[in-house]
């Protein structure tokens, strides 16, 4: 228990994120169903977002909102880094967009092919 | 050197198709005069007599007698006799015995391709009267109806010795300027040709084989 307790919180998030990335990659590489691959992608994406968030953490920091709780004078020393949070916000939306397009492509493939198996879509090659 | 274009000098060549006619010369052969200077003509005849090149064309059984002529025993080389494989260069045509109709066609062609003065020796009895083949349907009984003959050597078969004697006789005749077979042939060309065509049914050559 103490091991986890002593581990910095951000490292845990970081490791979980990286593990999620790996799991997502595993899904993308081994699952032949496209929808599952998209799920894999989502996992990877989420993992990356977790990594991003973890990077922004400052030991003992609080949310970067400067109000009564965190006066301006103390801001620099008490808040976590707002930049990764901002980035992650953007990245999430972008991931969403990509996922949406991916899904619609998968739907169209299914409509055209009646299959979602990636290894049945290999007619253009060499 | 220039081909005459007057129609009487050309032959009909009716045995040839229209397409083939342009491939063969249709000129009529012409006789040649002796050299105007007698001495030159004599000298030329001497040279011709001493350089008898026999066309290597065995037309019948008698051809077998031609071969020993060149051997050590008879050595016709001594008399300037030699064999030539092409009629263009030959001056003597030895008809080796009977001539079948089929062979006659080739004989005529070869003879016409020899350049004058040219001489014909008939060997054996067959060219004279058909010999043992006198009643054969395809043997020529009387050869001189078809080509002018300069010398007959009769016998069945004449041995090479007789052949040598005949050659010496021919030489004598040539030196005397009496061997004008080529001219005779040309002068009586139509007659000869008619005779030839009488027996040779499938005449597919030009009338004169230049």
């Amino acid at each position: 228990m103490s091991l986890i307790a002593d581990t910095p919180i951000s490292l845990i998030v970081l490791c979980s994120g990286l593990a999620l990335v790996l799991i997502g990659l595993w899904g993308m590489l081994t699952q032949r169903n496209m929808i599952r691959m998209i799920v894999g992608f989502s996992l990877t994406d989420t993992g990356v977002h977790m990594v991003m968030v973890s990077i922004g953490y400052v030991t003992g920091g609080t949310a970067p909102i400067i109000n009564d709780a965190v006066p301006i004078a103390e801001a620099a020393s008490r808040v976590v880094d707002p930049v990764p949070s901002a980035l992650v916000l953007t990245a999430i939306v972008i991931g969403l967009g990509v996922t949406a397009v991916m899904l619609s492509v998968a739907i169209r493939i299914y409509k055209a092919r009646r299959t979602l198996m990636i290894d049945e879509c290999t007619e253009s090659k060499w | 050197m220039i081909k005459s274009l007057s129609t009487e000098d050309t032959l009909e060549n009716s045995g040839l198709s229209a397409e083939e006619q342009q491939l063969f010369c249709n000129a009529r052969p012409k006789a040649y005069e002796p050299y105007p200077i007698k001495a030159v003509e004599d000298f030329a005849n001497w040279a011709r007599a001493n350089s008898l090149w026999i066309l290597a064309f065995g037309t019948g059984c008698g051809a077998i007698e031609l071969r020993p002529l060149m051997t050590a025993r008879f050595d016709a080389n001594r008399f300037g006799v030699a064999g030539r494989p092409t009629p263009r260069q030959s001056s003597v045509f030895v008809i080796g015995g009977y001539a079948s109709v089929k062979t006659l066609k080739r004989i005529i062609r070869s003879y016409e391709q020899m350049q004058g003065p040219k001489f014909v020796i008939c060997l054996g009895i067959c060219p004279v009267n058909g010999g043992m083949y006198f009643d054969s349907y395809n043997t020529i009984n009387q050869f001189d109806l078809y080509l002018p003959v300069d010398l007959y050597i009769t016998g069945c078969m004449p041995r090479p010795e007789v052949l040598v004697a005949g050659i010496m006789e021919l030489q004598k005749k040539i030196k005397q300027g009496r061997c004008d077979g080529a001219n005779r042939y040309v002068e009586n060309f139509d007659w000869y040709k008619a005779n030839q065509k009488k027996v040779i049914k499938n005449w597919d050559m030009p009338d004169y084989n230049w």
């Binding site: 970081l14 490791c15 590489l29 909102i65 976590v80 953007t90 972008i94 | -």
Partner: protein, 246 residues
Amino acid sequence: MIKRLFILMMLAVMAVIFLNLAGNYRENTELSRLGHYYAENGPQELGAPNLVTAVVVTYRGLDTLGEVTVLFISAAGVGLLLRRTRRKQDDEDLEQGDRAEETAGVHKPASEIVETATELLLPMVILFGIYVFLNGHLSPGGGFQGGAIIASGTMFLLLALPESHISRLMIAVIESLSGFSYVVVGVLGVLLAGGFLDNRIIDPGTYGALFSAGAIPLIYVFVGLKVGFELSAVLDRFRKEDTGPL
């Protein structure tokens, strides 16, 4: 099988690489240069208490414009991909069964509980969404979050009333105009303030008040509207696979 093994090997190597990353990671004890600057100067410069919002809308406003664009084009892309096949040539790539299914378009009606809950919750959800993007510069939240909440309202609606009609025209007009307005605000930044997307075209007002932080709330309104309607459009398209003229 060999391929699978190979994948495993690759992932193992990746894991080693990641371990390498994690092993060398030391948690930050102080803010990065950028973060430091924002924490110190953000409130004064922009008048927005929520630093993340300040960063998102202004410091990294170009990102956000891009983000909006991404959403916009993915909505457009989804629309393009899932448009109903009208023309003959498009039909040719579909098999017979598809067409039958597509033309049928029968949706099961939702259960009564869902319908009732939706009727009850929908206004609140949308209201909450609006609240979130309007207060984006003050508290956690913002245009995207608010837009997403609004879109979830749409989701409710679609679940409860599968046959309900959402006006394409309205969506198109709102998302186009809000997007365009965002660009206009950005351009105004050049003309009236320091640069493109500068939020100080409007007087910052009272620090911490609702109508403060310059153009940030304005931008968040556009963003919220845009995101909400775009996500709704995406959901709608996934539902129907029919866009009609966009």
